[in-house]
Each structure stands twice: as C-alpha cells, then as structure tokens.
Symmetry: D2
Subunit: 377 residues, 4 copies
C-alpha cells in the first residue's frame, strides 16, 4: 500500500494506517504524505519507511513505484487527502494500473465522480470507498436480515448523524480538520452534508438495499460566518415507497459521533447506533424485543466474517474500518492470484456508491435552496 496524504497532524490518515495494519494483510510500503516535501519525509520516518519510498508528491509516487519490479512495488494506493485532492491521485493511479482505496466523499464534484466511475469500469481495477460504517458486523447483520425479509416490507427509515464539534467557529482557530471541511475550495459545495450526510445516506441505502428516489431538504448554516452548511434536515422517499428522515448536523452541541439508524418494516423494527455498535436491536411486532450481539454464533456469515473476537469483547470504529481494508486486501490477493474474489469479500463500498453520494450532495444542496417541495434524486 502506498498512501497519499495522512502526514503529521492529519486525522484520517492514521485511521487508515491502523485499519490497514490490524490484520497483518497489508503493508505500508511508501507514501506521498504531504504536499510539503520536508513534512512528507518526516512523516515517512515516523512510520519507519525508507527515505527513498517517501515521495514529495503523488505524481512522483505513482511514477516511481510503477518503475519498481512487481512484487516490490505497491499494490494499491490509499487516498486520505481532503476532498479536492481525491480525483487527481485516484485518476492517475487507475491510469497507471494501481488499485485504489479512497476516502469519502468520492470527489470534489459530480464531474470528477463520473470520470472516476468511467475509469474504474474501463480499467477493471479494484476501487474501495471508505464508507467505513458499513464495515460494522451488526450493520451487515441488519442488511442480511432485511434482504431475507425478516422484518417485512420496509415502510420507514430514520437515519441521523448528529455531531457537535462545529458548534462554535472552530475553523477560525487552528483546527486543520475544521478548516478544510468548511472551505468550499477544499470540501466542495457541501459541508456537513458532504462530510457526514453522505455517510448517513450510504448507510441507509446499504442496510436497506433501497435507493432514495426523492428528497426535500432544509439546509442550514447555524454558526455565523461559516461558509458551508453545518446542519440539515431531509425528508426522503425510497424506491419501494418507504418514507424517511435523514438528518446530519455538526452543531448538535454535545453530540460526539452519533450516527444511528432505525428501519421499520411490516413485521419488526431494527435499530443500530454507531456509538454502541456491537448491538442490533430488533423490535418485533408480536414477540419480545431481541438484542443481537457481535460475536455470537447465531449471526449471518457476513456478520461473522466482519468479527474478530468473541462476544463481549467490544469491537469498534477501527475494526469496522479495518473490515473495508481486509475485504479489499483479500479480494485483491485473489485477483493477483488470478482468481475471482468471493462475494463475501467483495463487500465494500464501491465507486458506484461514491457516485450516489456525490449525487446526494448535489441534490440535497439544490433542494435546500429550492422552494419546490420534492426533488428527484
């Protein structure tokens, strides 16, 4: 694995590295960790990388690595930069035969997203988008239960993602994380809706197997002086006629990272919360409520494949994130060995999910500005 971004002071780069390292399936062999060559070298040294594999730019990295003999060069690129620097390295990696793992949202705008989708299709290379919340075992369990019809036809979906860390104008302090996320030149047309709203959208579609077909959005900037949305409430309609609510906020004071989803079918309701990720609550219409738990033998193969340790030994955010990497790595190894990856391992968010996320951003912002009630997705 070669990494683009994630130098000293970055947040998500370290997460990607821990996630990739956890299972011993992936080795970090090189990186273009920063646009500052000096910082790039220092970051590489922190990571015990040889100096000659710490590149000054992603262009250099891709070019030089390509020249290395097979088996020695990196197998894939991991892109962990802010949104405006997803497209460049992803495109170049694909064009040079490298598989790609890319942080979300897919790109800066829809045009880039479409181009990446085209390139993935054309090259046939593996592409994973780190909508990491789909990596949780109980999310997969819920998906399987819904697919098998356990809760009946879905009628209502409530997905929410409140955070509170942007309740004040943090971007005016020295918070690197806040700065780029609230900067239209780096983040794109959306703030909270792009950063976390897309996670909510992706989770809802992944878990239910449904697609949003219409939405009606109220998009807000609550902190004075902020340039991008920090709050939004959205009515949803899905392709089977189900209705829903999605809300995402970064001014929900005191909330940590409270992604939560409730799905109501004709026979039961499901509830899952990212902050207590090892439980899946199943509320039946006519029998007692059940709590399914990560690590139990009675779960689906998909959930068990996403679990490392026995029930009661809590697995968290990094393990879920690592599930994306592990599935990607196992699938990649199959491909390298000339085999077809198994479906259970090909279970990671794709470039198509990324395009849907970009459309969500486009439509939710458009709807927020519109006086029209419903907007087609």
């Amino acid at each position: 694995m070669g990494m683009v971004g994630g130098g000293r002071g970055a947040f998500i780069g370290a997460v990607h590295r821990m996630a990739a390292a956890l299972d011993g399936e992936i080795e970090l062999v090189c990186g273009a960790f920063s646009s500052s060559p000096k910082k790039a070298k220092l970051s590489g040294k922190d990571l015990f990388l040889p100096a000659d594999r710490c590149y000054g730019s992603y262009e250099e990295m891709i070019k030089k690595e390509k020249e290395l003999p097979e088996g020695e060069r990196m197998d894939f690129v991991s892109i962990v930069t802010p949104n405006h620097v997803h497209f460049g390295p992803a495109k170049m990696a694909l064009q040079n035969g490298f598989h790609v793992v890319c942080d979300k949202p897919l790109s800066f705008n829809m045009k880039e997203a479409k181009e990446l989708q085209r390139l993935v299709k054309k090259t046939g290379l593996l592409f994973a988008l780190t909508h990491n919340y789909t990596g949780y075992p109980m999310v997969k369990q819920a998906k399987v239960m819904i697919k098998k019809g356990k809760i009946g036809k879905i009628r209502k979906v409530v997905v929410e993602y409140p955070q509170g860390w942007l309740s004040t104008r943090v971007e005016a302090t020295d918070s690197k994380q806040a700065a780029w996320r609230t900067d239209p030149k780096k983040s794109g047309i959306a703030g909270a809706m792009g950063d976390i709203g897309t996670h909510a959208e992706n989770l809802a579609e992944y878990m239910t197997g449904l697609q949003i077909t219409k939405l009606c959005a109220d998009i807000n900037i609550m902190v004075e002086g902020r340039r991008l949305d920090d709050d939004g409430n959205v009515l949803l309609e899905f392709d089977n006629g189900a209705k829903g609510i999605l809300f995402a906020s970064q001014i929900a004071a005191g909330e940590e990272n409270a992604l939560r989803i409730r799905v109501y079918g004709e026979k039961a309701g499901l509830e899952w919360a990212q902050m207590e990720p090892n439980s899946l609550i199943v509320k039946w219409l006519d029998k007692p409520m059940e709590i399914l738990r990560t690590g139990f033998g009675n779960l689906s193969p998909e959930a068990q494949n996403a679990t490392r340790i026995p029930a009661g030994h809590p697995e968290g955010y990094l393990e879920a994130f690592a599930n994306i990497y592990r599935n990607f790595a196992i699938s990649l190894r199959a491909i390298i060995n000339g085999k077809k990856p198994k479906a259970i391992y090909m279970d990671f968010p794709s470039v198509e999910d990324g395009v849907r996320g970009m459309r969500f951003i486009e439509k939710v912002i458009e709807s927020g500005k519109s006086k029209q009630k419903w907007m087609k997705f």
Copy 2:
C-alpha cells in the same frame, strides 16, 4: 370531579381516574361514563359511586349537578371521550359554571377550538388540557434550564413520537382504541398527527418556550385500507430561527410509546425520553455530560414540585399525568377560596395550547397535501 366518558372498556378514562386519585386532592363524585345508560350505571357501580350520581348523559350530569348545593356538587368536569365528544360537554360545562379538564386534542376541529377558547376567556373558569407529558419533572427541569439560558440560544429541535401498535389494520379487529382513532368521524382530519403528533408539538413548544412558525410535512397512510394518517415526517422552523424535525408514527413496528426530544443550543444539548423519564441528559460543549435525575435536591422548584418520592424510586406516566390534575386541583382550591393561584401550580396545558394543537393538525395535514415546501403555521 364529574367524569364524561371512561366507562368499561375505555383506556384513558381509567388513567384520568388514577391520576386524579393519586394525591388525595380530588374525589370522583359523579359521572356520565357512557352513552349507553346501562353501561353508564354499571361503570359507576364499578367505581363505588351511588346510583343517583351515575348519569345517562353529560347533559343530564351537568344539569343535575348544578342543582345540587355547593360543596356537594362536583367542582369540575373531566372529559375523557373521543375527540368528537370533547366540544359538547366542555362547552356546556363552561356555560354552567363548571371548570374543565379535557383530554387532548382539544376538539374535533378548529372552529370548536376557537369557541372553547372564547368561552374560557369569557367565563374565567379554569381549563386544563391533558398534554400529560409536560407533567414529567425532567421536562419541567429542561424548560427551566432553557428559560434561564443554560444551553444558550436554541438552534435545533428534534422531537419524535414513534409507536408501532397500528402496524397492522388493528381497527378491523375489535380494538375500540384503534377504531375511533382511525375514524375521521370521531378523530377529525388527522390520525397519528392528532393523536400523538400534537403531543410532540406541545412538548417541543412547552420545553423550548419557542413557537413553530413554519412547517413542511410528509403525511402518510402506510397500512392499506386505513382512512387517516398513521405516519408523518415534518420539517420545522421556530420563531427564533431554530430549525427542527418532528415525526410521529403509529406504524414504527415494535416501538412502544417512544416520545423523545432533543434540543440543541449554542452551549449544550438536552435529551429526554418518555420511556426513561427520570433522567435528563445534558451534553455540554466543554465539560462532561451530566445526567440529571428526578428526586435530586439540585433541581429547579418546578421539577421538585412535580416529584413525590426520592431519587431512584422511579416515577412514571401516571405520576406525570397526576401532576396535571394536582396542579389543577391546587389552583382550583385557591380560586374557590378566593385566592390567586400560584404560578407554580398554574403550570398545566391550557385552552391556548389546545388551539395551537388544533392549528398544528390543520396545517400539518394541509402541508402534507401541498406541493409547496413551507407552510406558515
């Protein structure tokens, strides 16, 4: 107290009686428990009432009681009938000098609501509407904290009321409760939105001290053959610029009575859930989360006045309901004794709250049918 409705087989009538009895402040002295004279008599007997105080109709009750000497006749009327039988007894009671406690929503339609509002104003009689959830101590605690500015200016309100008991067409069975609630002739223009949506609306306005000024509603009938809404998702705007979401559903399979509210201000978020009513969660921006608990000495006088027993001895739905009755009774006794009731006891939902609830019903149903995004409240 004389009761209208609440005969054998009724639900809310028994609740009102337990709530009224709990504190020993109120005695049930007569009733018109049923439109069937025989059932009315039997119900009265169940309740150990003398036969001559069990009337065949509310008209008879009000007329006969009025003829009794003061001190012997009922002091007020409690109306616990379905929505279409609120107006008649309330109007007649007011016109004959009886104070009134009335179940929610206030009336069958807005016209009736306005007329009751006019009569209350004209007669100066006490009128309480049993939006019972405002009777919980921690709801009052939240209200006081917000009023005092503890959480700063409010930015976002999320209020939800999911139930699952109408997930199937229960009204086609012999459920008396489901039957009238889904019957436009008895319930009015709204189903879930009237039955529980108004509770959510009332709770949000009571707790925050804000008023809804605009809304955008998606109102649904999810169970085939049903005649009134059983689900609705609503975007809100409040008079201080805060935004919000209200949803109410009776097809949220597996949910019991999960009224919950979250209020986010500039400094903190508050969370309260009816099913765990003795905790108020306060999530501060820059200090640890606190859990305030019913019965602790550090709560506001309003919360303490609504509490009967020490912390850790859970108080529930009936106690909150009883708080409406107790405040009403204490205020009424003051009035009877020629005194001005204290503000802390005048803390119960009024006919004005009832009119707002009726407007909510009107507007939310109108918005649900409209292609216009925002509707003025």
Copy 3:
C-alpha cells in the same frame, strides 16, 4: 383503611396513602398519624379527614373504630411507623379483628415477629407486609418464568441494593429519616441490613422460589460515629445448592436506590433492576438476548394483573407499591363477601415473609460478628 403513623414530615406514610388511593379500591377513613395529638389532628386535616376520625393514638383508634357500626368502621389498619412501633398496633389490630398492612421489616425483633405470626395464624385475618418491590410486574414475570423452568435449575443469584444517602453522618443533621434508621432503639439490631438488606433477601427468595440456607456476612459501619451497620456483603447458599451474593449499602456514594437482581440458571440468566423496572432482560445460552417489557400481551397473567397501562407508559415505584394494596384489597373484599380470594390476588408478602426477614437480620448480624465462615439460616 385506618393509618398508624405517617403524619406531617414522614416519608413512607405518604407513599402508602398514594399506593392505597391509586386504584380507587381503598378509602382512608381514619388515622393515628402521630404520637403528638396536635400533629395527629393537623395531619388528618391535611388529608381531608373529619376531626373525629383523627385519633391521638393507635390504641384509641382501634378501640373507637371497633365501636363503630360495620360498614362504617375501617376494614383494616395500615402501619407505617418506624420499626419499634410495628408490633404494638399490629398485635392490637389483630386482637380486635382488624386486618393489617404493615411496613417492613415486620418488627423490632424476632420475638415480636413470632408473636405476630402466631396471632395471624390464630385469627385468620389478612396480613400484608409491604415488601413493595415484589409488586413490580417484571418481578412477577421472572418468578413465573423461573417456576416454569424456563431458565433451568438455578445456580447463582446476585442481589444488590446500593444506596448512597448515608455516605455522610446525615443523622447528625435534622433528617428524621436518617435519625430513626440509625438508632438501635428504633430500628433494632440492624441498620442497612434491616432497612434494605431485607428487601434484597425478600426479592431473591420471592423471585427464585428458593430459600437461603446458609450465609457468611461481612457487616460494616463505614461512617464514623454511626451506631448501626451502613454496609454489608454476604455470601449465600440456597436450598437447591445454588450460591449467591447479597450486598446492601447506604454508603455507596452517588447510588440512588439501585436494587438489582441477577439469577443464573442452567439455560439462561435473568436480570432486573428496580430503577428500570419495566424491562426484564433474559440472556439465553443459545439464542439472542430478549428484553421483556411491562404491558406486552405476551407476559404471564401474574405480570399482566400487576400492570395498569400499555407498554411504553412507564410504571414505577408507586404503582408497584399499589399492587400490594390492590391485591390485598381485592382479597379482603372477597373475604368480606364470604368468598375465597383468588390465588392471583393473594400474591403479596405475608407475615411468614416477615419472619424470614427478621431471621435474616438476626443471622446476618450474628455472622458479621463471627469468625465462623458459614452460618445456618
């Protein structure tokens, strides 16, 4: 009902009155509310009782009420005084043909307990001891499940009752509640163990249907200057060979009233906590954990009989307390009407439970002082 104790400033007297009033089955008709005649009269006035039914002593009350015609005089005596004033009124009531409801523990010492047991047996009068926690619906549900063998043979019981309110020497302030509970002349030989330890013992035996046969206790006074135990840890053995732990503490700083029990059988574990009383957690060995909830139709008749309102409308401490009174009242009415009370209504703690509680106090204090490991119960 005539009440002994419970005048102004008392705690448990008001609880008994609310519990007795809730269901409209019982009327408070007289009382000897205080040993101070003046306070007794004032307390009676607070409760809207006629002056001639507010007596200056329990002796006077029992004597005068007996002289009243049947139908007019009280049917039973409710004793809500501190421990040292249980025996006198209970004995006199029984000797004069009045049924009795008595607060726990049964008496000041074992000798009194035995005498009351003898009198109840001799007179055939109804006697209820208010171990109120057995009144909760989910406690009854657990009892029924265990009796039916749902969780298999019981192997382990963990029952705990931590409170924190005596963490400082509150009895040195003006706390009436703390004063008598820590006074050997009023409380008896035990402090915390008598006040709440007996609740834990009673709950464990009631729920499991087992009896403690041996115990090994560590009994402590943690607050300097206190005269009775405020903390204790006890190892238990039950008559079927199961082992267990009981602990009760009033110096568990910050705890409210956290009575909790876990029962582990061969097939499943049950967990119930008084502070979240409407849930019963069932942890199965080989299927998902279930949460049973008060108010659901799938519960046992015993649990349903103890429930007043639908699921999701929380019932609490007063409702559970009221279940003791309601069952007592319904059974008493049957007896008055010359019928045999139904088993489902005879479900309230008896004088025998009271004698077991007194033996628990005796043995646990004896064991606390002993160097011998196990003490026979």
Copy 4:
C-alpha cells in the same frame, strides 16, 4: 517480536498479533507457533513469515534468534501459550537477554512466578503481563481520579466478571479453549479464578491503588464432571480498610464478558464496564452524575495517551490490548536507544502484578476449601 504459541486454531495469539500490529510500532519477525513443527510452519506461512524464522520450538527460536545480528533478530518474545507453558519460554528468554510480553496469569504456580520475578529483577529486562483491561483509557482515567483524591477515601469496591460460555460441559466437545482452561495439568489449581478472577483482582488493585489484604472465598464447580472451579464469590478487605466483593463466573448463563467495577469513595462512586468501555460514570454525592467519555479533551494525560481517535468513535478490546503493546514498545525503544522510558509509557502490568495474581489464585482456592472465615492475602 517473536511469538511463542498462537498457531492455527488459537484465540489469544491472534489477539496479541492484532494488538501488536495496530500502531505500526512492532513487527512480527519470527515465531514458534506450535509444538507441532508442521503446524508451526503452516501458521508462519499464514502470517507471511519467511520459513527460516518459523521455528519448531521456543528453545530453537531463542537460540537461533540470539545468533542473528542485532537489529535483525527479534527484540522481545511474546508468550501466548496456555498457563503451563509460560514459565519455560519466559525464563529462557530472560536468560538469553530477550525482553518479554507474557499472557496472564503469570505462570502455572507460585514457585515459577517467584523465579520469574527474580529473573526480571536480576536481568533488568522489560517484562509486561497482558492484563489487557488496564489498557482501557477510562480505566486509566479512573485510576488518576482516585489517586488525586477526587472521590475521597475509598470505602467499598465491587468487581465482577461474569461469563456464561462454560455453562455446559463444553470441554467435552472439541473446544480447545475450554479444554485447557478446565485441565488442572495445563491451567493450574484454578479454573475461572485463574482465567478471569485474576483479571478482576488486577483491575481492582490497578484502578484503586489499594491492595487486597484479606479474603473469604466461596469457590464452586457448578457443572458436573468439571475438574476446576467455574464460579466463585469472594469477600475482600483492602489495605486502607475498604471492603469489597469480587466475583467471577463462567457459568453465568448468557453473560458475554461482563467485567465491571464499582468503586465507592467518601465523595463519589465510579463505575466502569468493559462492555461499554468508553464511558466512565461518576456519581457525585452532591452534584449531578457525570459520564466521562473516551476522546474528550478534558481527560487526564494517561487516558488521552491511551486513546487513538476522537470521542464517539468507539475503541474496544483490541485497542486496549494494543495499549499494553504500544507502551511496552515505546519504553523498549527508549531503552534500546539508551534512554530512560517515560512513566506514562511504563504504564503496563508487570511481573510484580503477575506474582500478586498468582498469590490471589493460591489464596482464593485455599480459602474456598477452608472453614476459616478470613484468610490473609
């Protein structure tokens, strides 16, 4: 790092590898993964190790690695075998100059423990015992708060570790994990008390800074045919006079891995549960209960050092385990570089903790067999 044990089919070996890999500080370079040479080679291959670093025995590994040039050979040995194979490799590693990480309990018996303690002292090599639960950030936060006197003098400690997985005679099936844990030749004199009781003992002493001075144990075998204890209840006394309860059980049907501790001081109570590890509940005597959360900036440096990601991104068992390895690795690097490791990194369980754990096993089993009440620790 060279690993002893942890071949195919093992549980804790994989945990150690993930924990060691997570932070990119440690590289697995060799192993003696199994006593079967064939299995050892295959396990090494699974882990992408070169064949010549996959040894057939720990003796071979230590000998051969020692012959490798510095910088190439392993820096330390990680021992993840069953209890009876801790002493051999640990002793040989220490005698040959290798630092050691060893799974708990320290050894098969006290004699071995003392000998290892002597060797560590003599050689001055680093030795970490993986009492992994002390690696959780909120455990460290509690330790710091207690040390600073925030909760006052400790009066009571309740530590419990219920599991249910040995509720049936699993060792009679093909469960490798159950087999050795219930085999006195591999596990030692204790079953549950050694496997998980020592974790509870270690957690209590680590968090409180107190030492157990006396205990009174009831030790049981609940499953017929089992050879070692599967359940135990223990009364405790600590060196400051505090009292406590420790219980550990593997027949608590339906429990997962429910290690939980409550510490009550004069001013507040603390509560932490391994299954919800990112919260620390602080129950104050006279202010609202607080929930401290992993990832918040207001925590102690010790807690922050043990945290990788922001609040609301749950960290779990593997992260806590990795904290032991990371602290060990950072301290080791300091030593290798000739520096004194910082105190904050030397925060991992030591050989002394291991000796205390072995004494706990010895005493708790002895007490279980004794008729004497208290046994000195």
